[in-house]
């Protein structure tokens, strides 16, 4: 019995908008299965193979812990920055008309389009002691390259579009008359933002920042050039997983990868649940 048949069975057959529901649904699920689910399952199986004790040993090894701590802290820094800056960026792109707006809008896709390794190289060059930014920061005693700040900057660079591109369409579609209603009711600009606009974009904003965080956790290409990769100091988790692979320590690699995936999935599930709570009664049943 096909998957589609299982789904349709409980309800009486009704006309569907999409013709060939069985076919399209089948294809979609097959795709999700092969491309998305199977690798994750393989990873989980690999993890299970290791056994809980060994798994715990790998994950709590000082070098792994240090890498995870660095990765999570840097991702949190990057996400905090992107949460603020991405919102501001979306706001500016939607609410103001200025020369170069379209260009700025297009530039928001560069982190998506650029090979992340290229981005990493460019950032390293900029922030190294004789780079454009590095030269300014160095005299102030701030070094970015080969520190957690470098990692965070690389992560912020690659994940900013997730925030901008999730918030932007919602902001664009906001009903202007709601703001005008708030204005006639005496709300100040700050009250209009905090009580009318922000709640409207919050569900999308939440998802956008969570995806940005998840993406930062796994970021590899952009990070490795700027991070310095010193074990216990500036080594990110994804790099450590690769190092384990190169050492033919498949168990070690799988355990680290699984930990990253688990953190990301739990966060995504949480923010999806929150979003559902927020929007539950906003849309007509």
């Amino acid at each position: 019995m096909s998957v589609a048949a299982v789904i349709e069975a409980p309800t009486r057959r009704q006309k569907r908008v999409l013709p060939g529901f069985g076919l399209t649904m089948g294809l979609t699920l097959t795709y999700v299965g092969i491309i998305v689910l199977l690798p994750v399952i393989a990873l989980v199986l690999k993890g299970a193979e290791i056994g809980p004790l060994r798994f715990w040993e790998i994950v709590t090894a000082p070098r792994t812990l240090a890498a995870l701590r660095l990765t999570i802290t840097a991702a949190a820094l990057a996400t905090a920055f992107n949460a603020l800056y991405g919102l501001l960026m979306a706001w500016v792109l939607v609410r103001y008309r200025f020369p170069g707006r379209r260009l700025l809008d297009a530039m928001m896709d560069i982190p998506f389009a650029l090979p992340t390794a290229v981005a990493g190289l460019a950032l390293t060059a900029l922030f190294s002691e004789n780079g454009w930014y590095g030269a300014i920061l160095a005299p102030a005693g701030i070094s970015v390259v080969y520190t957690i700040w470098g990692v965070a900057i690389a992560m912020a660079f690659t994940s900013i579009p997730f925030v901008v591109r999730t918030v932007q369409p919602i902001l664009e579609d906001l009903d202007a008359s709601q703001e005008e209603a708030a204005r006639t009711l005496g709300a100040t600009p700050f009250q209009i933002f905090s009580r009318v606009i922000f709640p409207a974009i919050l569900p999308a904003y939440l998802i956008g920042t969570t995806i940005a965080f998840a993406r930062s956790l796994g970021e590899f290409g952009a990070v490795i050039f700027i991070a310095g990769n010193l074990p216990m100091k500036t080594e990110v988790a994804s790099l450590l997983a690769v190092i384990r692979l190169e050492e033919y320590d498949y168990n070690g690699a799988a355990a680290i990868a699984l930990t990253l995936v688990a953190i990301a999935l739990v966060l995504l599930a949480l923010s999806n649940w929150l979003q559902a709570q927020l929007t539950r009664r906003r849309v007509p049943a």
Partner: protein, 365 residues
Amino acid sequence: MTLAISHLARRFGATQVLRGIDLQVRQGELIALLGPSGSGKTTLLRIIAGLDWPDAGALSFDGSDWLAKSAAERRIGFVFQHYALFPHMTVRDNIAFGLSVLPRADRPGKAQIAATVDRLLAFLQIGGLADRYPAELSGGQRQRVALGRAMAIEPRVLLLDEPFGALDAQVRRDLRRWLRGVHDSTGTTTVFVTHDQEEAFELADRVVVMNGGVIEQIGKPDEIYDHPATPFVARFLGLTVELPVTMRAGRAHAAGLDLTVLPRRAIPDGPATLFLRPADILPVPDPEAPFRVTEMATTGALLRIVAEDDTGCRIESEVPRRDGRDLRQGQPVGLRAVAGQIFPGSGQQPAQPIHTPKTLKEARP
């Protein structure tokens, strides 16, 4: 006199949307802005609200210049065409919004706000909906909530843009009566926009007929209905039959038409145009008359009769079925006008009855 509008003009790019609006709204009045879509009604309402500013003209309330004040400072209640309720707030929070954003010093306590909201909910007959979200309400219920939200701040003037535009006919009629009741018991000066003449006439103390950014006529519903001031108003109010007549000593004359009932008018001798409602034309059998009955159809209570003469002039009338008993297809008839409006000059399309639906459709060039 409370709200005074003078010489108000507003242009968007190349389109002159308001071309010199003069209007005085008295304390406690219920005014309808009536006109076809695109005539500038919403623009005028938004300027009164402080959501838009005119290019020229003045707007004052009880002597204070409102153009120098923000929307919030004017303290008006605005009900938007599509309600614009806050979707993430319950009905209660929507209605409380205006009170909850007051500066701390003026803001009533939580309990007091809740009491005000409860009173409004009961008054607007939506007590059971307090904890619902806008998405969980019907159109008519949303309309009531939107009005409640606007009334919570005790506005000096209540402004409503097509308050019943998005509702079906039955709900429309119910809400219309309900709004009149609300107005009568609060006495709040109210201006509402509509393109439905029935709505304007049933609800308003005075009707302001707008067209192309100018006011064509201001008056009580009866005055406007009986004495449309311009050809536009006449057509808009269903005087859809236009006939060329000749004025002699204040009386209109035309072959085959009995116009003796029409009062003498101070219109110079010469060509003029007579505007009639189909219901105000009575075909009378008359072997001498140039008209012949060419079509007869019953609509139930009424008989729709079309009479034509040799020149192709075609006139439609509507009479109670009883009065049409003696009429037969092909019979020669004279036409007696029971009431009508005469404007000097020949109309653009004389002798061609122009059919204007009672409610002008939104799509208007």
